[in-house]
Each structure stands twice: as C-alpha cells, then as structure tokens.
C-alpha cells in the first residue's frame, strides 16, 4: 500500500466540507441550538440564519427565497418533485417524460409511479449522452404533466440542453423539473432565464455537508406534500429544520457560485490534461460522454479487455480514489444503465472508470495518475484472456 500519496478523484460521489462552511455551521449545534419555529430568542436567532441560507440559495439560482424548500438531500428533492407533481396533476393527465440516464433517485421514483398507474417515457440519449429536443417534443401528449430531465449526468458528465427543454415545456404549459445535483456549483444556472419550474440540489456535491439539499419550486407550481407533519417550510415540508445543515448549504452554495467561472476553468484545464494524457498513453480506450458539453470535473473512460473493480482496487492501492460503472462494484451485477444507454456493449461498460476532479486536485495529481494508470491497465490486460495485443497499435475505440 502506497500511503505517501492520496489523490481524491471522486468528487461526483461526494466532496469534503469546506472549513468556512463548517465554521458557519458549528455554533448551530451548540450555543445557537434553538428551534427555528420557537418564538423566543433562541428560536428567532436560528430562524434568522435559516432565512439567510434560503436567500443565498435563491440568489445562486436566480430564484426568490420563497421558492426554496430545504430537504434531506438530493434523493428526497427528486422524489418530492416527481411524485409531488404527478399526484398534484392527476386530474390533468398521467404521463411523465424523463430519460434513460437519470440518477436512480429519479428512475426508481418513476418506476414506482408506473405501478401507481402513471405512464413514463424514458427518452433515449445519443452516443454522447445527449437527449434530443425533437424526441422530447415528439414524446409530449395531451396527457403529459411533467418533464424531468437531469441538468448534468453524474457518471459521464454530459450537460443537457436545459434552456431549450425549458422553453419547449413552457410553451406547452408542462411542468419542467431538472435534477441539478451535479450541476450546481459547476455550471451557471438561472431558473428564470432557463424556464425551470423545479430544480433539485444537494449540498455534499459542492463542499457542503451530507444529508441536506433543496428543491426549488417556482411560485404557482402545483405539488402535493411528501413529508407530512408540522408547518415547517411554509407548510410544504414538515420536520424540524436541520439548522446546521441548512446554514452549511447556504454558505457552500455562496462559495461555489461566487467565483464559479474561475474555479470551473481551473478544474476544466486539469481535466482536459487528464483526458488527453489518458487517451494518448493508453490504447483501446474510449472517452465516455460529450467532448465539450460536459461537467468541468468529469472524466469517464472505458478501457477495453479489463474490468472496472479490479482497476479501482489497483488505483486505491496507489492512493487514487475513483469510481466505476462496472457491475462488480455496485453489487447489482448489471453495469451502469447510463453506459448501456450511450450504447456501450456490456463488456466495455464493465471496464469503465470515472475520475471526477474538484478543488483539491492539482497538476501533480494529474501527472501522478498519468504515471500510474497506464501501468495498471497494462498489468490487468496482461492478465486478461480478452487482450490480444496488436503490435504497435494505438487504436482508440
């Protein structure tokens, strides 16, 4: 085990919590522990900061503070948006449009709704992971009540034409939700300009704490309650507020969006260096996702003839943390639905590696990965019965 190096390249899975964020959160565990619903000073103090956090989230999205509802993370926001809108509009129709590459939070919520009598269209994507506007248009029927299409994909990083979809949905008068869990803090978002009706986000993807997120719900959008109980969040999402979490989310989103372009540019340059290096050095490799319409930190490769889990274990032994869409890592035995949706055959999907960069990564990290990764891939290929070396060939697939 090489313990000298620790290179974290799994920011799409989660990020650490920034020190500034943690510092703002800490008092709300101890001295400012009040319940924001209480009338006394303890409660009023907490309330004040919850309101500030709400304003910060609103500002980051171009929304109004009254349109922000805190949830226990991205999964809850997705579930609430989809189920809440489906049931609220049941009298109008029963058809939902989404894609084949959504996060499981969304896909499994839709599958549940199918059992409840709703009809769901799962749109295909092209080889880069892009949804076609024409397909969205053609899928709309007079029964369509919701379009839910993710802003950016968590595995391959592809960014969808959200503004165009928003415009189309608005013209047709259909509610449009986007899962922006991977996009917030990485790309510029404006819910008004982009005609977004609902948007999910999660703090632990942009250097905030885990277990806290938010759903933006445009004023006037019909949504039934998902969590029933007290009158918190203006009666729409019950439960005593996770005050420290909310405050952390507010600080994190402010930090992430304040110098977004500068940060994104730096990370994008590192990523492009990584992609170029890997494609140049390792034959029989495919870059998954779109060459330019992709998240700044996302790199996703398929290495032919080898399996992803074996690759991850080897990288881990060298101190590099990544992830894979291989079935063997998930325990589900099926390779990632996203990689299958972009048309990869099973055996190539098994050999995938996602390296997602973030603020902690440096030029040296990239050099280190470019030194270690080719050796590991070659070692595993030498072990693989599928690998027939073609002399001098550097044929990228």
């Amino acid at each position: 085990m090489d313990s000298r190096k620790a290179v974290y390249m799994d920011h799409a899975a989660t990020t650490y919590t920034k020190k500034e964020v943690l510092e703002e959160m800490l008092p709300f565990f101890t001295e400012s522990f009040g319940n924001p619903s209480s009338i006394h000073k303890f409660g009023r103090d907490a309330r004040k900061y919850v309101d500030t956090a709400r304003e910060r989230v609103a500002k980051a999205l171009g929304a109004n503070p009254e349109e922000i509802y805190f949830t226990a993370g991205g999964t809850e926001a997705d579930n609430w948006a989809v189920k809440g809108a489906a049931y609220a509009n049941r009298s109008k129709g029963n058809h939902i449009i989404t894609t084949k590459i959504e996060h499981h939070a969304l896909i499994h919520a839709c599958e549940y709704l199918e059992k409840e009598g709703f009809q769901v269209t799962y749109l295909p994507v092209d080889e880069y992971g892009l949804v076609s506007i024409e397909d969205v248009k053609n899928a709309i029927t007079d029964k369509t009540i919701l379009i839910s299409i993710m802003y950016a994909n968590n595995e391959i990083g592809t960014i969808q034409p959200i503004s165009e979809i928003g415009k189309l949905a608005r013209e047709k008068g259909i509610c449009f939700h986007t899962d922006a869990v991977q996009a917030v803090g990485s790309v510029k978002i404006d819910v008004k300009e982009q005609n977004i009706d609902m948007l999910s986000l999660s703090a632990h993807k942009f250097y905030g704490p885990k277990g806290i997120g938010a759903l933006f719900v445009k004023k006037g959008v019909k949504l039934i309650n998902f969590v029933h109980g007290g009158a918190q969040e203006r009666g729409r999402r019950a439960g005593t507020e996770n005050t420290p979490g909310i405050i952390g989310l507010g600080k994190a989103i402010e930090l992430a969006t304040d110098n977004l372009e500068e940060q994104s540019k730096r990370i994008m340059d590192l990523r492009d260096k990584l992609i170029k290096g890997v494609m140049d050095k390792i034959p029989y490799t495919r870059l998954n996702g779109h060459p330019v319409k992709r998240l700044p930190g996302n790199a996703n490769f398929s290495f032919q003839y080898i399996e992803g889990e074996a690759l991850l274990l080897n990288l881990d032994m060298k101190g590099i943390a990544g992830s894979s869409g291989s079935a063997c890592t998930s325990g589900s035995l099926d390779p990632s639905h996203v990689l299958l949706a972009i048309g990869l055959p099973h055996e190539i999907a098994h050999g995938s590696l996602r390296l997602s960069l973030g603020t902690v990564n440096t030029e040296e990290d990239i050099d280190y990965v470019l030194e270690v990764l080719p050796e590991i891939v070659e070692k595993l290929r030498q072990m693989s019965p599928l690998y027939e070396k073609i002399k001098g060939g550097n044929t990228n697939v």
Partner: protein, 149 residues
C-alpha cells in the same frame, strides 16, 4: 470488503499466464457478465505439473483464479476434480455474497480444463459436474446461465 487473503492474491496473483503446449485448457464465464476465466494445465503422469490462468474480471475473480491454481498444482487429476468452490472461498478467508459466483467460476474453470485434457487423451471423461455449493439467492448472478436455488 475483501479479506487480506483476497487482497494478497489480487495484488500478487500466482500463476498468471499461458502454457503454449498445454495438456488441457478450460474457459468459463462470458464477457457480458463481466468475468471470464481461462485455465491452462500441463499434466504428466496424471499429475498437474504446471498451471496458469488468465482472467477478465473483478478483484475476487482474479484472487479465486490465483488461489485455485495454487491449490491444484502438483495434485493428481482426481484430486483436482475434488476442488470445490467452497474450498476456494474458505482458503481466501471468505468472499462477499455478491462475489460467490467468482468462486463457482474457479471450480468450473479447473473442471473444464481437465475435461479438455481427458478428451485430448481419448480417456473416458470422468465426472466433471460442479460439486461445490451453489450460490443462494443473495449470491446469484442474474445474467449467467447457472440457475440458483
């Protein structure tokens, strides 16, 4: 997730490679599932003198191939046929439930290689039926032909 033994065999696998003039070769699994195991045997006087493997698969698949080849090296053909997936799992100090099927492959790969050897020798093929412990529901791979109980 994996025992030290598994990680040991995974990071330093024994007997990786091919045997050019193998007495028997067995290949099991398929790429679609995400694992293929290929075992090469060199048999002289009914004794497994040498054994090599090539595996496309996860950490557990590589570790089970490595230990299985160690366990049959120097053994007679009959003894090698007695190798069960359970013995492989035990020798590795256990495998996570989802990885039991990798041990099944290891037993089957050894048996397939011996079957190939016996056919080439024109010998009566002894029983090369799987004799290990079938994966239970939790351990089952939905993609394989193997039926789980």
């Amino acid at each position: 997730m994996y025992s030290e033994k598994v990680m040991d065999h995974f990071s330093n696998p024994k007997n990786v490679g091919e045997i050019a003039d193998a007495s028997g070769v067995g290949e099991v699994g398929n790429a679609k599932c995400g694992d293929i195991m290929k075992i090469y045997l060199k048999i002289e006087d009914n004794i497994i003198k040498d054994v090599k493997f090539k595996t496309f698969g996860c950490g557990a698949a590589i570790a089970t191939s490595s230990i299985a080849t160690e366990m049959i090296k120097g053994k007679s053909v009959e003894e090698a046929l007695e190798l069960t997936n359970k013995a492989v799992v035990d020798a590795l100090d256990g495998l996570p439930p989802a990885k039991i099927h990798c041990s099944v492959l290891a037993e089957e790969a050894v048996k397939a290689a011996i079957e190939d050897y016996m056919k080439k020798q024109g010998k009566e093929v002894e029983s090369t039926e799987f004799i290990g412990v079938e994966p239970n529901e939790e351990e089952c791979c939905s993609k394989c032909e193997r039926k789980c109980h």
